[in-house]
């Protein structure tokens, strides 16, 4: 089966490439990255700051299901409307360091477009750590659920 969203992460390398084709004109796709209220909806984050320009910066804060807050920030190095954003990305309480991100927006005819995100990490270890995060999170969630069930069962006993 062909996936819409593809992730390329070669073993032993310190980068990740994410590609996705959208049934959207490229300008609409680009707006999803530049308008704070839209970005908040699909990223599930609060936007504290979003300066769409060279030398601008951004700052997001996300609240996870447990109520913990996670900050993200970065600086914009290149901003070409409708085609390209080059920026840094940092998870403030993570151990993954700062990443360099190249976002490329490409039209595929009038109504379709493609987004490529190329992220470069300082080391292979940092990249693998971030890649494994949703996997680890999934395991933790499953573990928490098991614990909840176990606690309930204990109360019933």
């Amino acid at each position: 089966m062909e996936y819409k969203t593809k992730v390329q992460a070669e073993a032993g390398k310190q980068d990740i490439t994410i590609t996705r084709e959208f049934e959207l004109p490229v300008d609409l796709l680009f707006r999803a990255y530049t308008e704070a209220d839209i970005l908040e909806q699909w990223m599930g984050t609060s936007v504290l700051k979003l300066e769409n320009k060279r030398h601008g910066s951004y700052q997001f804060i996300t609240t996870d299901p447990k109520g913990n807050k996670h900050g993200f920030n970065g600086t914009i190095h290149e901003f070409a409307p409708g085609s390209r954003i080059t920026r840094t990305f940092e998870m403030e309480n993570g151990s993954f360091g700062v990443q360099l991100e190249f976002l490329e927006f490409e039209p595929l005819g009038e109504e379709r477009s493609k987004l490529s995100i190329h992220s470069i990490f300082r080391s292979v270890e940092q990249r693998d750590g971030l890649l494994k995060l949703p996997f680890a999170y999934g395991i933790n969630m499953a573990h928490d659920r098991l614990q909840e069930i176990a606690v309930k069962l204990n109360h019933q006993a």
Partner: protein
């Protein structure tokens, strides 16, 4: 020293990746594998040991020789690791697409 042997650790090394690539097409003896590299024979043996410990390679006795086979099942474990990450982005992008379709004045 970290003695934990996982697939990620095993494939982080370029020589070990070359060995896997070599064995992907055919089973080979340690001697034949070593002949493809400039590294000393004990170094290659160490790599083969690590790859075997994490089950990326399997040994098989044929007559007097031990052949190393590539185990593709284990490589799938790496792909499975990435899958939750891919799904996370897929969900985000599905949401993005749905939101932007409503924004479009044409639709």
């Amino acid at each position: 020293m970290n003695l934990r042997r996982d697939v990620f650790q095993a494939i982080a090394d370029p020589t070990r990746r070359s060995i896997l690539l070599l064995l992907a097409s055919q089973a080979m003896t340690a001697g034949a594998i070593a002949a493809n590299f400039d590294s000393a024979r004990p170094t290659i043996s160490k790599h083969l040991q690590i790859l075997t410990e994490c089950e990326l390679l399997q040994q098989e006795q044929t007559g007097r020789e031990i052949y190393y086979h590539f185990n593709p099942e284990k490589m799938k474990a790496v792909a499975d690791f990435i899958e939750p990450f891919r799904q996370m982005w897929d969900e985000r992008f599905n949401k993005l697409e749905a939101i932007m379709k409503k924004q479009s004045p044409k639709k």
